[in-house]
């Protein structure tokens, strides 16, 4: 049996997207092992760990993406900038 990834029909943008998320998760795991962090309160209504904040950041970003696509015609790179900034803000102060 030949094992290929052809059935997954990869494209460059989706590959970058998935690899970025996987690498971030791996990096955060290593970071957490090297210097463990505590749960704390930021501007979010619940106490969160860095993993929680990353999850919340990505999940809300998906909703921002849906709103952007569904309601506006603006270019996607502006959205990318907004979303990256948003995730960074949530990660630092959330």
């Amino acid at each position: 049996m030949k094992l290929t990834l052809a059935w997954m029909v990869w494209t460059v943008p989706t590959a970058i997207f998935c690899i970025t998320i996987i690498l971030t998760v791996i990096a955060m795991t290593i970071w957490q092992t090297v210097s463990p962090s505590m749960e704390r309160r930021g501007f979010l209504p619940i106490p969160t760990t860095p993993g929680d904040r990353f999850f919340i950041g990505v999940l809300t970003s998906v909703y921002i993406f849906f709103a952007w696509i569904g309601l506006t015609q603006f270019a996607l790179w502006i959205l990318l900038l907004i979303v990256v900034c948003w995730i960074v803000v949530v990660m630092i102060w959330g």
């Binding site: 494209t11 989706t14 998935c18 999940l59 998906v62 996607l76």
Partner: protein, 291 residues
């Protein structure tokens, strides 16, 4: 602040993680890939960017199915939670009635979902079904779940309530049985009425199990497919087409894998958001009890 304990036991979770990676993450990435392409067949696809997302997010049928889904899940919770608690309160506390009640109540939970749909098709048929024919001929109330919107909804709701209220009842019953007798004795000494015993003792003590019941019922009713598909097929018209039924129609019956992929991801993040919110609520309930 507590210090983090030794986390090496997490390595034991690794095998499960690998299985989940193959059964969930790889298919999920494939769906992400599908959602940005027009798939014609094996090896033939065209990158279309966010076109399918634009199309699905603006699709009025998806909007209708989504509101229908929220209405359905809302009604399910509104009916099943109080009804399940009532049944649990009415169940006998000791003697031969306990196993008899438990088995009878649990029966609907043991029936395969497709069979449930088939049972209710026959039960509610306007010509020969016990319920349908009874409504039409004995009571003189016109009833036809294949033709009338309200009748279809009533039938689907009845089926859902009959199928899943037992789960809420069993969980609530387990919660009730876990309350120590001393609480009731104290209530009797204070001369508390049945209602205040319920509000101040039973309900707070059942909070944990009821939250789990709430979560399970919300998720299951939000993802419901087999029973309404068998019973009404999404009809009459589109009146009982829930999200999963519409999704299968797009992805498998019309074989529109691209829009189907975009739809799946929209569905997925909605489920993810609500799971996260309810999970947080559940955590908070646990913390409240500790204090």
């Amino acid at each position: 602040m507590e210090k983090w304990p030794n986390n090496k036991a997490w390595l034991l979770v690794l095998p499960v993680f690998v299985i989940v990676a193959f059964s969930a993450i790889i298919p999920l990435m494939t769906v992400i890939n599908y959602s940005v392409q027009d798939i014609f067949g094996p090896g033939q696809s065209l990158f279309v960017g966010t076109e399918w997302y634009r199309q699905m997010l603006g699709d009025y049928r998806l909007h209708e199915a989504l509101w229908r889904q929220f209405l359905f899940s809302g009604l399910v919770l509104l009916i099943e939670m109080p009804l399940g608690i009532l049944i649990a309160l009415a169940m006998p506390k000791k003697g031969w009635g306990v196993p008899a009640c438990l088995v009878t109540i649990a029966l609907p939970l043991l029936i395969p979902w497709n069979t449930i749909g088939t049972i209710w098709i026959i039960f509610t048929r306007p010509d020969i079904g016990l319920f349908g024919a009874g409504m039409n001929n004995l009571l003189g109330i016109p009833f036809d779940h294949t033709a009338r919107l309200l009748d279809a909804w009533i039938t689907v709701m009845l089926m859902e309530v009959w199928h899943w209220t037992p789960l809420v009842a069993l969980l609530a019953y387990a919660g009730l049985r876990a309350i120590p007798e001393a609480y009731y004795q104290a209530a009797r000494i204070d001369g508390a009425s049945a209602w205040s015993t319920f509000v101040y003792i039973q309900l707070p003590k059942m909070r944990g199990v009821l939250t789990i019941a709430f979560l399970l019922r919300f998720m299951d009713s939000f993802l419901i497919y087999a029973e309404p598909f068998v019973l009404t097929g999404g009809g009459p018209g589109n009146s009982t087409t829930f999200l999963s039924i519409y999704l299968v129609k797009i992805a498998l019956l019309q074989f529109d894998l691209g829009p189907g992929g975009a739809f799946s991801l929209i569905y997925f993040v909605i489920v993810l958001l609500f799971s996260f919110i309810f999970y947080q609520a559940l955590q908070r309930v646990g913390k409240g009890e500790k204090a």
